[in-house]
Structure formats: structure tokens, C-alpha cells
Symmetry: C2
Subunit: 371 residues, 2 copies
Amino acid sequence: MPSKPMLNQTRKRARRQSGSNGMAGLERIADRTGVSIGTVSRILRDKPIRVAPDTRAKVLEVAAELGYRPNLLVRAIQSGKTGMIGVMVPPFDSYWAQVLYGIHDCLTEHDHVPLVLWAEHQPGRDKSPVSERREDLAQIYRMIDRRIDGAILWPFPAVLYAEHMSNIAELSTRNIPIVTIDHELDPQHKASFVGTDEAMAGAMVARHLLSLGHRRFGHFAGRQVHSWAVARRRGFEEALRVAPDATCISVEVADEVAEIHAMQLLNQKPRPTAIFAATDHIAEVCYRTAAQLGLVIPRDLSVVGCGNLDIASWLNPPLTSVRQQPYLMGRRAAEIVVERSRHANNLPPIKELLPTMLELRSSTSAPLMSP
Amino acid sequence: MPSKPMLNQTRKRARRQSGSNGMAGLERIADRTGVSIGTVSRILRDKPIRVAPDTRAKVLEVAAELGYRPNLLVRAIQSGKTGMIGVMVPPFDSYWAQVLYGIHDCLTEHDHVPLVLWAEHQPGRDKSPVSERREDLAQIYRMIDRRIDGAILWPFPAVLYAEHMSNIAELSTRNIPIVTIDHELDPQHKASFVGTDEAMAGAMVARHLLSLGHRRFGHFAGRQVHSWAVARRRGFEEALRVAPDATCISVEVADEVAEIHAMQLLNQKPRPTAIFAATDHIAEVCYRTAAQLGLVIPRDLSVVGCGNLDIASWLNPPLTSVRQQPYLMGRRAAEIVVERSRHANNLPPIKELLPTMLELRSSTSAPLMSP
DNA sequence: TTGTAGGCGTTATCAA
DNA sequence: TTGATAACGCCTACAA
């Protein structure tokens, strides 16, 4: 009979052997090699510790043979770190695909994985404020219940509703590091922010159009609940001031009625000779509207977009557009969350603005004639 | 002094109170309400059990106040089910975005979440077989180490290399349910499959072009390592047989040298009057090549694509393309993995083919003249 | 150098 | 109706 100290573990093992469900654990390796679980654990973690060479060899061999893989869930509940970062993104175009790539690459390089959930993307779904809030809340709980180490968020349209902030509060009150992309959150959430230098973007567009000789501008602005849309608009308008005789009419366009807004603006008299569309999607609407009015781009109307999506080069004529750096934005956002998570979210939140470039294509030219 | 039975737990609690890291657990609620952990657990799970109404009320109140959220990681290590499904996708276009939406929606409806990782997507990365294999393997381990309940895979180009199958074997030997999309795996993996009815797709395209009067065809086939590419090609070629005088030249195009292949095929004499491109991306290359040769679409050349991506409608002229059902494919794939996972992967693998439609646009017309 | 005990947050199983 | 206890698979301390 074994001595007392061994009895306890021996009994345990005997019991477990039967109920095992397939994947080998430390215990099975311990049994097969005749050493204790603790020893196996130490060897497999490859800590700088002292182990008899043949013990190590034997353990490694059996582990390989059994296809042992550590269970990160267990480590997670012990360490309090799951290595999972919640990512909530909008329905996507090529811009967001790049952002996701950036996030993905940076996270995996740091041994983390993204838990990607979508903000409402179904055209068919009920979009009432209430159901939207519920749905977003459910998504946030999905992440919290799995104990994500941090979250990267996109500013869903729901930021419109004050109640929505309480969803984000679910994260911030639990001290989960947050980084938002493109939209800056209220300071109370202590959230970091990665965005685009909209002042620079606006200035580049303004300078380009002014240098072509334009003086009457129109701006299709994004919905002003998004901080990027506000900054983009201001950046453009302020940069126009260098030309005292420049005028600009800005209208905020909501996706659903973009056509109508575009039509109204393009029917102004005198008509603007150049348009800065807040996004390439809006620029596309602008193209369609221009076509309906019989305007030829760029002869009658110069158009500049923003985002430099795939469509920019597919449009006819190819669209001049502000090139942002979505991949880099994703990377930076990921780097920031991971770092905050490592420091128990005690680092102060930071804001980061990435520079832009203007991608010149053929949707811009000098105005037909001066007024 | 408390009686002996209580002593043990009481001591434990006293110790833990200090080291708690923020998020409330059952224990804290138990302390605050004066009941045992077990009771709290039962109430919060809301099982059909008998609890004193006031006990329940008190517990629920405290739980809400503390913002209690269950820790799914713990449930996972106990139940052996994490509720996470690994999803490995290629760099994406609108087709894959739809697939992801479908997967996401179906999974969340079943209280699961997707763990989305990318198959190599970086143009800059070293693409040697070895490093590619390593990278994919790392991705697979990331999923396994977090104990995914199942996996939805896209057939990465790496299926080319025999060694790559050993990566997938890492999943199948562990009895993790697998569903592949678009590419059918070797039977040994017992993997399920969701794809498109390529025979139907090919037949629709063939019928359409034949009815327009075409007899000389060209087919830009996808790389024949992909089962979808093989089936799509065969589907098209076989459907052409209804016209005894129809001829078809098929070439397999690799992305990198697509232009060259396209140029060669379009330089055949007599030149084909209609092209079926295996993907819309290839169709786009075809457009460019045709332009270089001074061919006008559809006057000199009819072109049909497949996938009905966003670009199809942006191309000039808009591309006639086979419409697949990516969203549905995603949903079905998700449903299938979840179901297999629930049955310990004991259900037999299934194959599912979804029907297609032909989206008629203006890239096809009758041939200019009969030979 | 190796083994054992205790704990992570929860569930399930008895016992009270 | 409620409480205590043993898992789940692993890691950290401490003991041998």
C-alpha cells in the first residue's frame, strides 16, 4: 500500500481517467510518465528551472505524442487575463476591413485574439432606439461575460441616444480599457482614441480646390453626432478662410435621405463648383445626383471624397479622395488596449491622430468659368 | 464562536475579500446577503428551483447593485463548452463580409461567439510554403488553446501544400467539428461543407450566353486546387454540351499573372465571343485586358462574372454575374458547427449546396456576327 | 529536483 | 430550502 501522502492524488487520478473527454491534460501526461502534475506543468511552461534532463525529455515526448495543448481558459481565470480583446465594428467596406486587419495583426503578435462582434448591420432589423440599445447591450455583455481584457469600439449611430452611453459605461465602470476609433468618447469613460487628423485632411482638400481656382464650395458633412464628422467639417471650413472670397455651404447628410440633400445643395444658385464629400459613399451619391442634373464631373463640378475606399478608384471618373490610414489605426488601437490592459487600466487615456494624404484622381479640375 | 461546519468557508471568504480585483463574483454576493454561494448560484441561474421568495429578492437586488455578470470561462472549463467558434477567413471583399455576417448572426443567436482570425492577408509577408504553414498552424493553435467548440474554415491557398492538411488534422484529430465553406475537404477530416451549387451556376451562365447566340466561349477558371473552381468549371463546360457546335477554351488563372493569361486567351483566333470569369475579380482583369485590346464590352465581347460582388455593379459596363448566397452560407455553416458541437461531433458530416441566380446587367449581348 | 496543498469562480451533488 | 464540498485544469507556494 502506498504511503499516506500519495494516497490523495492517486485516488483523484483514478477517478478522472474515465471521464476524460479527449484532449490530454497535464494529468494524463503525469500518469504516463510517472511524475507529478506539478513537474509536468513546470517543464511544459519551459520556465528557467532545474529539471532532470531525462525527466524533461520523457515529459516532452509524451506531451508531443498526446498532442498536449495548454488550456488558456484556465490560465485566464487564474491570471485574470484572457488575452481576448472585444472588437465592435460596423458593417464594413474596405476601410473597416483594413482596420480589422491592423487590429488582428497587432493583437496576434501580442498573443491576444480579437472577439469580433458587429454593431447592427442588418437593414431589415428593427431600428428603434430601444431595440437597438438592447442589441448593443447584449453584444457588450457577450464580451464582458467572457472577460475580455479590453475593447475597441466603433462609434455606432446609437451614440445618438443618451441611453447608449450607459452601455459603454458597462465597460468603463468595470475598469475595462476602451479605445474608440474615429469617434471621441466623453471623458468620463477614460477611453483612449485613435483617429484621423481631420484638420490636416480638411486643409489638404481646401488647398487643392482653392489652387484649382474654386471659390464656391459645398460640403456634404457626415452626421454631426460623430466627432470625426464635426472635426472634418470644421477642418475644411477653417482652411477655406485663407481665401477671403470663398464661400461654403455645408449640409449634414443622413444616409437614408442623402439623395435629397445632395439634390438640394446642387440646386443652389449660384451652384457650388466644388464639393467635398465627407465620405466616399456620400461622394458616390453626389455622382448620381450630378448625373441626374446633367452635370459632368469634373467639368461642371469637382468632387473630393474621403476615405479612399475601393470604390473611389472604380467610380467614373475615378474619385480624388483623402487617403486615411485604417490599417495603422487598427494597429495603434490594438497596441493601446493591450498596453492599458497590462497596466490594469491605470495609464491615462491618450488621443492619437494619424496624418492623411490626398489621392489625386480625375474628379477635380479647374472650374468652368469664374463667376 | 461559530460551529465547526461553518468555519471552513468563513475563513476562506475572509482571506479572499482583500485580493478581489473588481468584478463581483458569487462569493461577494453571498457575503453581502448572508446566504451561501450555492444558493446564490442557483438563484442567479434561475433554474426552476425552490427558493424562499425573500432570499431570491435579496440576492437579485444585491447582484444587480454589484453589476454581477457570470464568468463564462469558468462554465467553459467545467462544461467543456466554450461557446466559441473559430472562424478562419481570407482577406475580404463584399462576399466574405456577407459570409461573416451570416456566421455572426447565427452564432450570437445561439449564444456563441466567433473567434475570427485571418488567413494570410498581407501582401508583404513571406509567402514561402514553410512560413505560410507555420503561420496557419499558429492561428489554429490560437483557437485550440482557447478550446473552441468548432471551426469554420475557408480553403486557404495553402491547401496546395500537402503539409497543410496536417494543420487541419490538428483540429480533426481532436474531434473538433469542422465546416468548410466553398472548398470540400478530404473525407478523413469528417468535415461538413457548405458551398454553392456550381452545376446550376454554370448551367445558368451557359444557357444565358447560348441563348444570346454565342458559340465560341472562353472560361477563366479559378485555381483548380479549390474544389469550387473545379466544380464551377465543369458545371459550365458540361452545360455547354447542349449546343453541339459550341467550343470552349478554359484556362486556369493565378491571381499574380491573371493579366497574362487573360491576354493569351483573348488573343486566340478565332477569338471567343463570350467569357465566363470564375470570379468578379477575374472579370475585372478581363475588362482591363479587353480595353487594352480595344475590345468593347459587350459589343465585341460578352463577359459574365461570379459572386456578384459590389464591384460587379460598379464596373463599366455593369457586370452580369452569378449571385450566390454568402449570408445564408455563413448562417448554415454556423448552424452546422453548433449542432455538431452539441452532439460531441458524433453526427455524420453533411454537404450542402445553395442555389444561385443570374444577375443580368449590361456586360452581355448577342455576338457581333456569326463566324 | 520533485511532490503536495490550496485556490481561481462556478456548478453539481449530497447532506442537513 | 439551504449549506458544504468536490470537481474543472492549471499554477503558485511551500514542503520534502
